[in-house]
Every structure is written in structure tokens, then in C-alpha cells.
């Protein structure tokens, strides 16, 4: 350090001589991340591997394989999967409609801006909006009853069940898909379509042999992202069902306030199981992301 100050103005690259010192510049970030991300996560990991007396055990994870916790995982996975696939397919169609479907151009920027809003319009207000619309006395429910004589709540529909939650999650999954798949659709080069048409390919053949194979990694990757997005959601489900639907996020919340599993360690294991599932989705996503970048430059 004295060497640089002695020369007056410090050089831009003195780090060359002291590469190790340069790492010190990352301390604020690493310190903050350690305090508020790594230590709390480690606390949960360690807690999940201890029994009541502090001895090492795997029993907490074994406790997850029965009853309420396993049901919570299955329901969370099912809802995330259904909304990821449905949101993925319809989101792709909508994005394709405004980008390459021959619709007026202003619709595209309008949809993109709205998608930015809607994908962030999750949680409490979203759950409320659906309650006011297709809840027991919601606008659409009443309209269907008075107009068509159909009471959807007599037909077995309820907003406060799995199906209702899926319908609600779809509201942030769909715009999220539109936002993240749009660049991939933009990347479909017009020349590819021309080339296949010139060689006599039908529209179906173009999709089957050119467009879908190119888009597949992006499509799958986006849907995986959607899966993770729904899997980690808590506020929407909590507000909609009052905490009475058995999802992993809801169960963790109940465990946090009232130790409903009657075993702190199992609660930590529950959270870690969630992290593990999301970790796998992130790995799959980054692998597909690298594959999709090959074509979409």
C-alpha cells in the first residue's frame, strides 16, 4: 500500500502484485451474505440434523415421509407442476400471438408491460381479487348463477381448494412465461421459416423439425422457472385459504408460529427439503439455459 501512495495517484492495477488483497474488496458483500443468508441457512441445516438433545440424527428427515409433511410436498409439487405446464403452454401461445401471430404491433408492448405488472401482482391483493371474482359471492360466480342458472359452487368448484389455487397462481405464472419466453421467440430467425418453406415444408413440418427443437430448451427451462416460482409462493395461498391448505410453504409458516409438527428438527428438515427441490430445479434450469443459448444469439 505504501508503494502506491508514494507515487501520488494510486494506480488502477496495483492488485496485480497483491491479488490476495483484492479479495478483501468483496468483504462487505460476503459479510452481509454470510450474516443474513448463509448463517440462517446453516442454522436450519444443522437443526435438521439434530434431535432434541442435540445429537446427530437423520430421524427428522424420516419424519417427513409420513402423513402431513409428505402430503404437503405432493400438493405443492402438483400445483406447481400443473400451473407451470399450463402457464408455460398458454404463455408461449400468447407471446407467440403478439410477436409472430400478425397482431397489431402496439399489442405486443402493451402485453409486455402488463405482464411485468401482473407477474409482480402476486400475494395478498391477487388472492383478494380472485375472491371478489370467483369466490362464493364473487362477480363471476353471481353472474353465472343469475345469468345461466349455474352455481359453480354446487357443481363442486371451490376457489379455496387446489383447483382454485391453481387458477389463481396461473395469474402470475402466465405473465412470467410471456416475459421470459419472448426473447426466445424473437430469436426464431425468419430465414429458417423461409428456408423450410422453400424446401416445401408445411407449417406443421416447420414446427415439428425446426422451431420446436430450437425452442425446446427455452420452453422447458422457462417452465422449470415457473415451477420454482409457484413452489416457493406462500402469501397467495395463505390469503386465499386462510392457511388451511396443506402446502409446504404454509406448513413451514404454521411450524414457525406454532410448532405444529411438535418437533423443531422436523420443521427445519421440512424447509431443507424445499431448498433441495428448488436446488434441483435451478440446476436443471441453468443446464437448459446453456443449451438454449446455442441457437438464440
Amino acid at each position: 500500500m505504501t508503494a502506491t501512495t508514494a507515487q501520488g495517484a494510486p494506480l488502477a492495477r496495483p492488485g496485480r502484485q497483491r491479488p490476495r488483497l483484492a479479495w478483501l474488496g468483496l468483504l462487505p458483500f460476503l459479510g452481509f451474505a454470510t450474516l443474513f443468508l448463509l448463517i440462517p441457512t446453516t442454522y436450519l441445516i444443522v437443526g435438521s440434523l439434530q434431535d432434541r438433545t442435540g445429537q446427530f440424527t437423520l430421524q427428522n428427515y424420516q419424519d417427513l415421509t409420513g402423513g402431513i409433511p409428505v402430503n404437503a410436498y405432493l400438493t405443492s409439487i402438483e400445483i406447481s407442476f400443473v400451473t407451470a405446464v399450463a402457464g408455460g403452454v398458454f404463455g408461449f401461445l400468447m407471446a407467440y400471438a403478439v410477436i409472430s401471430g400478425g397482431l397489431p404491433r402496439p399489442l405486443r408492448s402493451g402485453l409486455m408491460t402488463f405482464s411485468g405488472v401482473a407477474s409482480n401482482f402476486a400475494g395478498v391483493p391477487l388472492a383478494l381479487a380472485f375472491t371478489f371474482t370467483i369466490g362464493r359471492t364473487g362477480l363471476l360466480t353471481v353472474l353465472l348463477k343469475d345469468g345461466l342458472g349455474v352455481n359453480i359452487y354446487d357443481q363442486g368448484f371451490s376457489l379455496y381448494t387446489k383447483l382454485g389455487l391453481e387458477l389463481t397462481y396461473f395469474y402470475f405464472q402466465l405473465p412470467l412465461m410471456i416475459l421470459i419466453i419472448a426473447p426466445a421467440i424473437d430469436g426464431l430467425k425468419k430465414e429458417w421459416r423461409e428456408a423450410s418453406e422453400n424446401m416445401g415444408a408445411s407449417s406443421a413440418q416447420f414446427w415439428r423439425y425446426v422451431a420446436l427443437p430450437v425452442l425446446m430448451p427455452s420452453l422447458l427451462g422457462s417452465m422449470i422457472l415457473l415451477f420454482g416460482n409457484a413452489f416457493g409462493a406462500q402469501a397467495t395461498a395463505y390469503q386465499l385459504t386462510g392457511g388451511f391448505i396443506n402446502l409446504v410453504t404454509i406448513l413451514i409458516g404454521n411450524q414457525l408460529t406454532g410448532d405444529v409438527l411438535h418437533n423443531k428438527g422436523a420443521g427445519y428438515a421440512l424447509a431443507m427439503g424445499m431448498v433441495a427441490i428448488l436446488g434441483v430445479t435451478l440446476l436443471a434450469y441453468s443446464w437448459l439455459q446453456r443449451r438454449s443459448e446455442r441457437w438464440l444469439r
Binding site: G102, F132, A235, V275
Partner: protein, 291 residues
């Protein structure tokens, strides 16, 4: 329509070629008809998007006397206090996040590119550790000595800010890193240093102004997320906006609908600013994460 012809800029050329190509007359009307199914897809999506908003609006208008759901908001001190609380928390989050992320991303690019995979990995962790797990970990760790954050209001609020800063890492880092890629920080830094500027001055007067667009879109996104965030705020028992909105329905259901719409409007304003800033640059960040 010219944009859709395969030969793009040479409409005259295709007229002469088209006659000899059997495929041309067939594919053209097929594509014009092709817009109709897309119109239907788009229409269904728009109806789905608008219905919940109309339902909410309709519900908020049911209050008697007319519009009393909206006028009642003005008389509700908790509306303002919770909104102001969330705004202040959001602003502090933005400040802390920028103070941490900008020097780090800058330093990684300038001096320690080898640290990039590790830093990127850490900034992506919030995707794997959702808010409910993060707040679980934070409360478990900091609800007892040596660092009993949750024992005081100030401590709980500080913990909330810390959690939000962590949640902001993925998009903040990406936005700043993309912004830095567009400028030659090596030359800018050397030039500033030869003019006698220290690191703090370089950061504030050279780097930050160059990242204006990236930082502002990151800031608006953070604000939109923090003001609407429920999970961490409720478990830390903070008087924030989303918990207020959640509990409002027990006593004032119509007012709850009105406030939900206002919350949608706030998100709309924040995203509108991002869209405005993002014009001309492709690095728009608009996605926050699970809720």
C-alpha cells in the same frame, strides 16, 4: 404486411419471382387467416387478465354510500402508516442493496474476475431459498442471544430490511453487472485515478451515474416487491402494507377491495417507470420472485 414477406426489403423482386413459385400463392392467404386463431388466444388471455380486476372494482363499488370504500381510506390512519412504513423499508432496502452490490460487481469486473462464479452463485441463492425459508432461518438464528434482533421493533425492522436486501440480490446484481458490461470501467477507473480521484469518488461520481438506468429499474422493482411483500413482514410482525391489507377484510371488506386496487395501481406505476427507463436498452429487469 411487407414485414411478413420472405424477401422483406425487396417487395418488387418477389413480384417477379413469385409468379414462378408455386408455393407463394398458397402460403400467403394461409398466413392472413392465421392471425385469427392468435387473436382468439390473445382475447382469452386478456379476458382472464381483466376479470379479477373488474371483480375487485365491482366489489369496491358495492359500499354504501357510493364510493365510501374509497373515502374511508383517507380517514384510515393505518392505511397511511403501513404504506409509509413499507415505503421507508423499501427505500432503505434499495440504499443498502446498491451500497453492497455496486462496489462488489465493480470490483469483480475490475480486479477479481475469478470470484465471479462464487458471487453469482450467492446472488442466485434466493431462488433456492424462498422468503418463507429465509425468514424461518432469520428468526431461528436471531431470536436469541448473542444477536436477539427480534426482541425489539428496530431489530425486527432491521432484520426485515436484511431479508429484503437478500431477496433483491438476484436482479440487482444482474442489472448492475449488465450495466457495467456496457461501459469501459477499466479506462474510466484509470482516468479518474490519474486525475486524483479516490475509490469513493470514483464510485459516486463516475460509476453510479453510468449505471443510472440499471439502478433505477432495479430500485423500482425492489420498491414494488417490498411494498407488496407479505410473508417476511407477517412473520416478523411488522406493521407493513401487505399484512394491513390482509387483515382489513375482517372489518372493512369493501375498503379492502379498494386498497387491493390501489396496490395494483402502485405496482403499475413502478413497472411503468421501468418500461419507460428500459426503452432503448434490452436489460429490463421486471421479474421479482415467488410470493
Amino acid at each position: 404486411m411487407t414485414a411478413q414477406t420472405p424477401f422483406g426489403d425487396y417487395p418488387d423482386a418477389i413480384e417477379s419471382v413469385a409468379g414462378s413459385m408455386a408455393a407463394r400463392p398458397r402460403s400467403r392467404p394461409a398466413r392472413q387467416l392465421g392471425a385469427l386463431p392468435w387473436m382468439i388466444v390473445f382475447g382469452i388471455g386478456v379476458i382472464y387478465f381483466l376479470l379479477p380486476l373488474i371483480g375487485t372494482l365491482n366489489y369496491s363499488f358495492k359500499s354504501q354510500p357510493a364510493l365510501s370504500a374509497y373515502t374511508a381510506i383517507v380517514d384510515d390512519p393505518k392505511f397511511f402508516s403501513s404504506l409509509i412504513y413499507s415505503f421507508v423499508i423499501g427505500l432503505i432496502t434499495i440504499l443498502v442493496s446498491i451500497t453492497i452490490i455496486v462496489p462488489t460487481a465493480f470490483w469483480v469486473r475490475l480486479r477479481v474476475p475469478r470470484a465471479r462464479p462464487m458471487i453469482e452463485f450467492i446472488t442466485l441463492l434466493p431462488f433456492v431459498i424462498p422468503p418463507i425459508v429465509l425468514v424461518f432461518g432469520l428468526i431461528s438464528t436471531y431470536s436469541h442471544p448473542p444477536l436477539p434482533f427480534t426482541h425489539t421493533d428496530l431489530g425486527s425492522s432491521a432484520l426485515l430490511v436484511a431479508g429484503y436486501v437478500i431477496l433483491s440480490f438476484p436482479y440487482m446484481y444482474r442489472a448492475v453487472d449488465t450495466g457495467l458490461r456496457a461501459i469501459d470501467i477499466q479506462s474510466l477507473t484509470e482516468a479518474s485515478q490519474s486525475l486524483g480521484a479516490g475509490w469513493v469518488r470514483i464510485m459516486i461520481e463516475v460509476i453510479l451515474p453510468n449505471l443510472r438506468v440499471a439502478l433505477l429499474s432495479g430500485a423500482f422493482l425492489t420498491l414494488a416487491i417490498v411494498v407488496g411483500e407479505f410473508t417476511m413482514a407477517i412473520f416478523l410482525a411488522r406493521p407493513a402494507f401487505a399484512p394491513y391489507l390482509s387483515l382489513l377484510g375482517d372489518s372493512k371488506p369493501y375498503q379492502q377491495a379498494a386498497v387491493a386496487l390501489i396496490s395494483f395501481g402502485l405496482t403499475w406505476i413502478a413497472m411503468g417507470f421501468i418500461a419507460l427507463l428500459g426503452r432503448g436498452s434490452r436489460s429490463g429487469v421486471t421479474v421479482g420472485g415467488a410470493r
